[in-house]
């Protein structure tokens, strides 16, 4: 990618993120935007963002695909893969050739099956504490160049700040609270995807797209839409929404 076109895309990415940060924004939505922008701007094809829960286990909070096979890769990655190594050491982990990596056999098999040949994991740090990791996947071999790696880190830093700003800081426990809230939002979203999948006969990826499209077009948070879908006070007209749905 030429420098100019990347710079333009990068500006667009930061503007989109800034848009997400205004008013009553939803942290899952922000992280989803972030990982999508990263993949669009950088030479990568898929991405997933993991946050640490109360037990120090990594949970997938946002990804470019909600399909089961990609989610599975990320879960294996959190168990034994570059993602958990990045989280443990607090340093970026570069896997230039997944096929040649021997440390994580299950992750390697799953990643190769999905056509991913290189991976880049970068930490999300807040005041020296590692709160999660951003993971970018490529279908080609090789390392991310230094400029792209710096962009990835800058975008990950924006997401970290976003988690802090979701609500006004009122207590020192804010970081842990926000992490907790993001993880709990993610569970609500999964439950709401199930409701929508059953009522509108959608797969889980399209169910997520429909939830997000509804939230965006009505200027609601993903979390509040999920809550209303689960308590059945909101019926989403999925026929209309599937027409708009984009495969991320």
């Amino acid at each position: 990618m030429s420098d100019t076109s990347r710079e333009t895309k990068l500006n667009v990415a930061f503007v989109r993120l800034a848009d997400t940060l205004t008013a009553d924004f939803d942290v899952v939505d922000l992280l989803h935007t972030l990982v999508q922008e990263c993949v669009d701007v950088l030479d990568t094809q898929a991405g997933g963002l993991m946050l640490s829960d109360a037990a120090g286990k990594l949970q997938l909070v946002a990804s470019t695909s909600e399909r089961a096979d990609f989610v599975e890769i990320m879960q294996l990655n959190a168990g034994a893969g570059p993602c958990v190594d990045c989280f443990t050491t607090g340093k970026a982990v570069v896997v230039a050739d997944v096929d040649a990596s021997e440390a994580w056999p299950e992750f390697r098999t799953a990643a190769l099956q999905q056509g991913f040949h290189s991976v880049y994991s970068t930490p999300m740090k807040l005041r020296g504490e590692i709160i999660g990791t951003m993971n970018l996947f490529r279908t080609s071999r090789g390392e991310l160049n230094r400029a792209d790696a710096e962009v990835a880190q800058a975008l990950a830093d924006v997401a970290t700040i976003g988690i802090l700003q979701e609500r006004i800081i009122r207590e020192s426990s804010i970081v842990t609270e926000q992490l907790q809230r993001a993880l709990d939002s993610r569970i609500l979203i999964e439950q709401a995807k199930g409701v929508l999948s059953q009522t509108a006969n959608l797969d889980m990826h399209d169910a997520f797209t429909a939830l997000r499209a509804y939230a965006r077009s009505n200027q609601l948070t993903l979390r509040s839409v999920a809550e209303r879908v689960i308590d059945r006070s909101l019926q989403i007209n999925a026929g209309r929404l599937t027409g708009n749905s984009q495969r991320a």
Binding site: S52, D53, A54, A55, G56, K57, L58, Q59, L60, A68, V71, Q75, A78, G79, A80, V84, F87, T88, E129, I130, I131, R170, E171, S172, S173, V175, T176, E177, L179, Q180, R181, D184, I187, L188, E190, Q191, A192, K193, G194, V195, L196, S197, Q198, T199, M204, E227, I230, D231
Partner: protein, 234 residues
Amino acid sequence: MMGKSARAGAARPASQARRPNGEDLYSPFVDFLPVTGVSISVIGETGRQSTICASDPIAARLEELQFDLGEGPHWTAMHTGQPALVEDVTEGEHPEWPIFGAAVLRIGVGALFAFPLPMGAVTIGVVDLYRSTPGPLKPGAVATARSLAGWVAGPAARYAIQSAGAEIPAEMQIAPELRREVHQATGMVLVQLDTNATDAFFRLRAHAYSSGQTLHDVAHQVVTRQLDFRDLKE
């Protein structure tokens, strides 16, 4: 920051996450809230509730009484999914729990605060807080208690599964109660049975238990549409 245990938890890498003990689970509540004691209970595989930890004998006794009598703020929080706050148990009538209301006066407790343990829209258990003297929880403390309840819900559910001596398959060890398909299946089953999220989740668990499968296996069958709870006999 919420506390030492939470900080350590956030910084600790997943591969080295150790199994929490009961004290890890309840100590943030007594450390960060103006309460005397706490007990935490979760619903087990068979649908029965059990106390997984209590900070002192009075906290344990309060839980036991509410379980035996089937009434009290614990049950209000469990059934409504909302906190049940009783700032003075000695004052006024408590029509929702007359027997417990009389019994609790003999224990020497001033205030009771019950918070649901949330897993998305599912309530998986309750944390019961008590104070020896009457008095309200301030809004900030209520917010902190809610946040702590959310924080403890996952580890508490995991702790309950592990304490029960159940063998946990390797695929479940990543995050037994947090696999996405479990939450997705909860949403599907609540539509299939026209019920709420908590009931749907425990129907999933009960079916897994009675058929000798893991929760994740059953959830997978639901999500892949091999299993529909409308086809199951009661």
